[in-house]
């Protein structure tokens, strides 16, 4: 029992890092994704193609590979100092998730009918007013389901950070195998993930319900 408590506390500490990666990724990837989605919808062709190619590369390669490249790449190619491990993780996660989010945003924005923009225009609204006062909330409603899917994937993807030795929950659990020959802490991590994704599922259900008052 004592062992169980100490393992729980230790794993909780690792899960703190997991949550940190999770929260910081969302914090940066939400706005950056919107920026990228504007780029991929730009009327300026070279920019659009540049952004689309970038999104293709990021979505078309494994996040694990991106982590390794961002951590070891600069040192191997340019002989620069290595980034701090945690920074490298954040860079990789933010870029990767911004690209996924940008596609979700794009889908949401493009699904809004032209009539909504035109209605704003003939009412003399400015472009930013149309976007923020008319379009945005409708987009948010549209993207909650795909976004919640992606966010729950992020919870589990954080475990990839262990590939460059960032001490998140899986790393912590694995150290019990190496040091004490205990396998059950690794299985036990599943409970942490399940608990957290359960909370998120409830939260997204609540948000969806909140926005049920209109049909967009």
């Amino acid at each position: 029992m004592e062992k169980f408590i100490s393992v729980t506390l230790d794993l909780a500490k690792g899960f703190g890092t997991t949550l940190e990666i999770f929260a910081l990724t969302l914090l940066f990837a939400f706005p950056l994704g919107l920026l990228i989605s504007f780029g991929s919808m730009s009327k300026f062709k070279p920019l659009r193609w540049l952004v689309k190619t970038f999104v293709w590369i990021i979505r078309g390669t494994p996040l694990m590979l991106q982590l390794i490249i961002i951590y070891y790449g600069p040192g191997l190619i340019f002989e620069w100092d290595l980034l701090p491990r945690f920074t490298a993780v954040m860079v990789a996660f933010v870029i990767n998730y911004s690209c996924y989010f940008s596609e979700i945003y794009r889908g949401g924005i493009e699904s809004i009918s032209r009539g909504q923009y035109e209605a704003g225009q003939v009412l003399g609204m400015t472009k930013p007013q149309i976007f923020f006062k008319v379009i945005l909330l409708q987009v948010v409603k549209k993207i909650v389901p795909p976004m919640s899917n992606e966010i729950i994937t992020l919870v589990k993807d954080t475990s990839l950070a262990r590939i460059i030795a960032v001490y998140e929950i899986i790393w912590n659990a694995q150290s019990y195998i190496k040091l004490e020959g205990l396998i059950w802490p690794l299985f036990y991590t599943g409970a942490f993930y399940l608990l957290f994704s359960g909370i998120l599922t409830l939260l997204f259900g609540f948000i969806e319900k909140k926005m049920n008052y209109f049909r967009g």
Partner: protein, 251 residues
């Protein structure tokens, strides 16, 4: 003096000439119906007046002042376009209400953003408009809770809230069930009685005949025939007009 004068409006999309030189004028308080088959350019004409499309040539004058000149105005800034648009209001075929706002907020949103008046005065004006279109018991409802006819009446109130010189309707009843068209047409008719200048693109021949002062029949991007409604419907000169009317009135 004419409230609206349109001269030589031309518009093409790629190689398709949609409008091939449109001229007409409208007096204050008049109601103009534009009829014609699909693809004749009626809607494009209306969209040019509201600057959702930009005519390549031609001028649009309101109250004697040229507000648009196709040759000279190629590079209007956004804010200039917005200012010019406000001479016109537009009611869409598909209503295009803002789904996340209730009836009241749909109407007050644009005037509030423009800070046209105090919030209290804007709300008071909106309530009066809602009353005028007969929806005083629907003030706090959301668009999805309203019938198509009710939505279109809200859209009319929303357009009126900006007090346009000329209110345009793009087939305002085409998306409605037949039993709902009446309530929308009734509102338009009542607006006429209050002296509102209107341009209505419509397939409702009865409405065009009975409510409008002037009728334009468009075919293939030109005005085939124009005149007062009585003359157009009872004594059309053009062969095309006659065949269109006989087909439309058969229905």
């Amino acid at each position: 003096m004419a409230i609206l004068e349109v001269k030589n409006i031309r518009k093409s999309f790629g190689k398709n000439d949609i409008l091939k030189g449109i001229d007409f004028s409208l007096e204050k308080g008049e109601v103009l119906s534009i009829i014609g088959s699909s693809g004749s350019g009626k809607t494009t004409l209306l969209r040019c007046l509201n600057f959702l499309e930009f005519a390549e040539t031609g001028t649009i004058s309101v109250n004697g002042e040229i507000i648009y000149d196709g040759e000279a105005n190629a590079y209007l800034s956004d804010s200039q376009i917005r200012e010019k648009r406000l001479h016109f209001g537009l009611v869409f075929q598909s209503f295009n209400l803002f789904p996340q706002y209730n009836v009241l907020k749909n109407i007050t949103l644009a005037p509030s953003l423009m800070k046209r008046d105090t919030p209290e005065a804007i709300e008071k004006m909106a309530r009066e408009l809602i009353h005028r279109v007969g929806l005083h018991d629907r003030i706090y409802n959301y668009p999805c809770e309203l019938s198509g006819g009710q939505q279109q009446r809200v859209a009319i109130a929303r357009a009126l809230a900006l007090n346009p010189d000329i209110l345009c309707f793009d087939e305002p009843t085409s998306a409605l069930d037949p039993e709902l068209t009446g309530e929308v047409l009734k509102v338009i008719k009542e607006l006429k009685d209050t002296g509102c200048t209107m341009i209505v693109v419509t397939h409702e021949m009865e409405f065009a005949k009975n409510v409008s002062d002037k009728v334009i029949f468009m075919a293939d991007g030109i005005i085939e025939e124009m005149g007062d409604s009585k003359q157009i419907f009872e004594n059309p000169e053009s062969e095309k007009t006659r065949s269109f009317l006989s087909k439309s009135l058969e229905k």
